[in-house]
């Protein structure tokens, strides 16, 4: 057992209101530069829809992620030989039009305009060429289901559903899906990089691009099934979400998580068995990847796990954070959070609590299956999104959420503990109280439990405080 540490995120889609507040600080801090105008390390997509870049989920088109060849994992885009032969023109690379052509406005015209009969107006101008342009697509073009009648059929999560029915106004549904780099356990981008510039940090599992080693071969961009590695068209290098590692190392949450007004995001430590990662990713049945993925996660309270982790040099503060990890509780203990598209076989580490909305008054108490099937968002759609089509884990999570609501209602409004609701979903009142607290009330310190990175050993740091800065030389 080789114990590794992973910082993971859980997003409670039940509470996401699609305000895009997460995207803004991320944009302002990390991608507000020439060549990065079109990049959104964090973006919020409105589902159903084809997303950003267009149809990123359709791997028949983009050929990202892994696939099984007999029993062995291989990159869907092709292995080393294929890359060597196509290195001068990557056939699977999306172009900037698949994301959107970035534009800006010439606001100076409003100021410089001479006095006229009509007010001056500003026209959008391409940030690529500087020419006037007519925007026809953007990073959140489909917000609030805009254009769904046209783009909807391109959403692969409708597979197995009567899509036409859900594109009718009467039965339409929607929810938001904030997306960032998944910092996968089996990252396809890392395996795709010819230069070896992408790597996964052993300390916290963050996947990064070494900017001095990246040579701009672009295979990470096409290799990532979530399309979360971006190509800076000015510097000719790949860039991606860094999970705000300078903040994480200091014990602060990422910008997207910290700024979330709905408080839907949770950050914490997971311990997993690194030796079994490849085997889990190579699980033959795509629906069994999620259970195998869960099985990789180790119980941080288990004495044996703790002993092994200590002997492998994992720091005490990391282990303490793992024991109090909100994401471990949501993912492993309560089974409320599910991975995004496990069938891509990258073992993603940003998980989602499926949305129950709009609020249904009775989910748990009514005759089991029916109530869930009457939810506006079809369970099959969520299952295609989160569990490779297996409805059972989605149903369990939704039923537990519903049972929690009804139990808390019975306790608060009727003044009694209706434990019958909980038996059906195998929860006890104490656990429900904990779930309720974490999902509804938890303050910052409970939502983000992050160990600080060890400081670089420098005994002289306090002695040099206030010194002239020339060190021991003078």
């Amino acid at each position: 057992m080789k114990i590794s540490v992973q910082i993971a995120m859980v997003l409670n889609l039940d509470k996401c209101i699609g305000c895009h507040t997460c995207s803004i600080p991320c944009k302002n801090v990390w991608t507000n530069r020439p060549g990065a105008e079109y990049m959104w390390f964090n973006n919020v997509e409105c589902k159903p829809g084809i997303g950003y870049p267009k149809q990123w989920e359709d791997q028949e088109r983009h050929r990202g992620g892994w696939e099984l060849e007999n029993v062995h994992l291989r990159l869907k885009a092709g292995g080393r030989t294929h890359k060597a032969l196509n290195i001068f023109h990557n056939p699977d690379l999306p172009t900037i039009d698949d994301y959107y052509e970035p534009w800006d406005y010439d606001y100076q015209r409003l100021i410089d305009s001479p006095r006229r009969r009509h007010q001056p107006s500003v026209r959008p101008r391409s940030q690529l060429t500087g020419e006037p342009m007519d925007p026809k697509w953007g990073p959140n073009w489909e917000d609030d289901l805009a254009g769904l009648a046209e783009t909807g059929p391109g959403d692969p999560n409708f597979s197995g559903l009567e899509m036409d029915a859900y594109l009718q106004f009467r039965d339409v549904f929607m929810f938001w899906l904030p997306r960032l780099c998944e910092h996968c356990l089996n990252p396809a981008c890392v395996a795709s990089c010819p230069s070896g510039a992408l790597y996964k940090r052993a300390e916290d599992g963050i996947v990064l691009v070494d900017q001095e080693r990246c040579r701009g071969w672009r295979y990470c961009v096409s290799g990532c099934p979530y399309k979360k590695v971006y190509f800076n068209w000015r510097t000719g290098r790949a860039e991606k979400c860094i999970l705000c590692y300078p903040r994480l190392e200091a014990g602060l949450p990422t910008l997207c998580a910290h700024s979330c007004v709905g408080r839907i995001r949770y950050l914490g430590v997971l311990l997993y068995d690194a030796e079994r990662v490849t085997a889990a990713a190579a699980t033959p049945d795509p629906r069994q990847i999620y259970p195998a993925h869960l099985d990789l996660l180790l119980d941080p309270r288990d004495a044996e796990v703790q002993r092994a982790a200590r002997s492998q040099g994992i720091a005490e503060n990391v282990l303490a954070a793992a024991r109090h990890s909100p994401v471990n509780a949501l993912i492993k203990e309560w089974r409320l959070a599910l991975p995004l598209h496990p069938e891509f076989r990258t073992l993603p580490m940003v998980w989602y609590v499926p949305p129950l909305s709009p609020v249904a008054s009775r989910v748990a108490s009514e005759e089991t299956v029916d109530a869930l099937d009457r939810l506006r968002i079809p369970v099959a759609y969520l299952a295609n999104l989160l569990t490779a089509g297996d409805e059972a884990p989605v149903r369990l999570a939704l039923k537990r959420l519903g049972a929690m609501r009804e139990f808390m209602r019975s306790r608060r409004v009727e003044g009694r503990d209706d434990t019958k609701l909980l038996d059906a979903v195998e929860l006890d009142p104490d656990t429900v109280e904990k779930i309720y607290r974490l999902l509804a009330l938890a303050p910052l310190a409970e939502r983000f439990v992050l160990p600080t990175a060890p400081a670089v050993t420098d005994d002289g740091i306090f002695r040099r405080q206030g010194a002239c800065g020339l060190g021991d030389a003078v």
Partner: protein, 223 residues
Amino acid sequence: MDLAYTLVFTVFPYLCLTTFVLGHAYRYVTDRYGWTARSSEFLEKKSLWAGSTLFHWGIILTFFGHAGGMLVPQRVFDFFGISAGAHMTVAYWSGLAVGVAAFVGILLLAWRRLTQPRVRVVTTVNDAVTVGALIVVSGLGIYNVVFGHYNVLYTLAPWIRGIVTFTPEPMLMREVPLSYKLHVTAAWALLGFSPFSRLVHIWSAPVYYLLRRPIVMRRLTQF
């Protein structure tokens, strides 16, 4: 006259080779962040395919053709029973094929740079010089193959070997036609310029990728 030959066919090549070696070292140390091919496929993909594929495969095979045909002395070929005539015939046809591929490829790429507005935005003066030099060198090469009909095996090839083995004999170039002289001189100049251009990506050919493990892990600190 001898002095001119020494300057052009001994001093100049070594000057360029020195710049080539020191320039790459300097660039790698001082500008590792700029060490990339600056691919424009992300901005424009359709018209890149033919040009890029033709040019790259053409120029790589041309390089190996030059190395094999020039650096190996004819007496080695004779030993294996390949006469000078046969050698020249093989060199002519294979050189024509890969050389034309490279030349057509670079013309297509230059055309793309001029006509695609997005690609033009990311084109620098340095890129223009690089593409121009590649067109001149490969164009002269094609001219020599098609119209030259000159046996280089006993003059130009020994001269190149002299340069590489540090025993330069510039007078070997006396008989060589002007178009060949221009071709080699332009090629030296391109070699000397390449460390300061996007051509540095040649040295980043990802050979190690064929051998390494798929997932790269790095440890920042030792807990």
